[in-house]
């Protein structure tokens, strides 16, 4: 049953159409981000025309819509995502090395608690976690990484331990004989070997923290600090009172970095995201 060239072309054509339809929602938002507020409401699916086209003014107005400037939300989102992911990568990889090399009861208990924490939904701890964070003053963008490290440690430790167990001990013994202490052995010998799993865990944490809504919403002092998801949800809550064209512009601003990030390191992102799910 040889399939003809014609059939293959047909299939490619079919999939092209499906893919264009699949991207329609993003395209509609993009289109609406160039339209005036009333046009977004009345003719959501029409192309911008002479009456409704407003150029880039939505992008400029969007920055100041609501009481909280959007650029600040972007800034806090970036600060929280970068610092939390970096902290998680360094701390949990060190912890995972300790756990897999020191075979004590304590490290086993920590490991199994980490595995256990992966099945606990956030709603279980949200109230007590937010209260604890406020008591310890971990409620600013600069201290919230501690909370992310604590709540996100489970999956990261689990993935690192799984990888470190496969690294032969002889390499570290050699380093040790050559005079490396644990610190140098870890950072000069073990850490570089962790590269594939560092990328996977990094991608997972970045995607989680960048898109996370409820944790920063409950932990942060919302009058002073907002992240992008909190900002967008806040605008959604005041539906009808805000300039919808401007909100569309903000949505575009917030998904463009993700799409660029995705298109540039697609291979790692797909691998990382799927690995985390399959193991977790």
């Amino acid at each position: 049953m040889q399939r003809t060239k014609f059939q293959k072309t047909m299939q490619t054509g079919l999939f092209t159409v499906v893919c264009i339809l699949y991207l329609m929602p993003i395209f509609i938002v993009l289109m609406n981000s160039f339209k005036s507020n009333s046009a977004v409401n009345t003719s959501t699916f029409a192309f911008p025309n002479i009456d409704s086209f407003v150029g880039f003014s939505n992008y400029i107005n969007g920055m100041n819509v609501g009481e909280f400037p959007f650029y600040k939300s972007v800034m806090y989102s970036v600060i929280i995502t970068v610092s939390s992911s970096a902290l998680i990568l360094v701390c949990t990889s060190m912890a995972a090395w300790y756990i897999s090399r020191v075979n004590s009861t304590f490290s086993k208990i920590v490991y199994y608690l980490c595995v256990f924490s992966m099945v606990v939904p956030f709603q279980m701890v949200m109230f007590t976690l937010a209260k604890t964070a406020n008591t310890l003053h971990l409620d600013t963008p600069y201290t919230i990484p501690v909370i992310y490290l604590g709540f996100g440690a489970g999956l990261a430790v689990f993935m690192f331990v799984g990888f470190v167990k496969g690294i032969p001990l002889e390499i570290e013994e050699a380093a040790s004989i050559d005079g490396c202490g644990p610190l140098r052995t870890f950072f000069l010998v073990v850490f570089p070997m962790l590269k594939p799993v560092l990328i996977s865990v990094g991608v997972l944490e970045i995607m989680w923290i960048w898109n996370d809504y409820l944790l920063p919403y409950l932990v942060l002092d919302r009058t002073k600090y907002k992240t992008i998801p909190i900002h967008i949800q806040y605008l959604q809550g005041s539906y009808g009172h805000v300039d919808l064209g401007a909100v569309m512009a903000l949505i575009i601003i917030s998904i463009v970095p993700i799409i660029i990030f995705y298109l540039t390191c697609q291979k790692y992102i797909v691998k990382g995201v799927v690995e985390g799910a399959v193991k977790g």
């Binding site: 490619t12 060190m94 606990v120 109230f127 604890t132 709540f151 440690a153 995201v273």
Partner: protein, 305 residues
Amino acid sequence: MKRRAKNTNSAVSAKLIRRPIQRYFPLFLLPTFAAFCIGFIYPFCKGVYLSFCKFTTTSNATWIGLGNYVKALNDASFLHAFKYTALVAITSLIVINVLAFAVAYALTRGIKGSNIFRTVFFMPNLIGGIVLGYIWSMIFDGILSRYGTSIVLSTTYGYWGLIILMAWQQIGYMMIIYIAGLQSVPGDMLEAAKIDGANGWHTLWHITIPTIMPSITICTFLTLTNSFKLFDQNLVLNGGQPFVFMSDGTVIKSTEMLALNIYNTFYLNSNSRGTGQAKAVLFFILVAAIAFIQFSATRKKEVQQ
């Protein structure tokens, strides 16, 4: 002999690796462990304790035993949320897995440009739940406003709207897992089937699907837990609307799912926080049970292979 060799080996590695690291405990394990205590262990234990208490903040808790659990299980809105979540979970499980498998199957048959198609299908997965909910609520309202209605006015539209949203978000993800599974189906097996006269449908049903059973198990449980934990999308798409007011004064939010129901019990009324925490514990047990079933299911498969 062998054992002694092993013993000396482990003695060497103990001296070279284990003991030096153990001295560095404060540097290697302590930071993560301390944060883990703050971010998980303490809130979890306190949460379990508070589920047996009456409280509005963590400092004024008084022990009342199982009262919160009785209240939670008699709460009509909680039971409704459970049923609704289960319904959404089952529908989305079928829709997402069938479509994701179909796409994966088509894309592994050497279509030109399949890499680009994969990229496109996976993309929505990276957009966060809040933004996703906003985009789709705008689209659905754009369509429905022509017929004089809205997604927040109808349970049916809210339900299918959520299914479409979840499918859009997750098909690409499950597709990647299915593609990995499909690529591991041995080519000679398919060839042998062809020589023996099996048609495409037979090959799919008797060879391909049994071989990729592990992928199917993973995707099934992933979609299931994703639905049960769903919060952001539910909150933004329609926030549980439309509301139904019962004769005894309770409000049932007809499209509210479990996670949102727990959140509302906590934060809409500070007097029902005890009940909210009890609901959260029940929710945790449910999610953990699903994870445990998944674990034993995959374990069994591994033993068989």
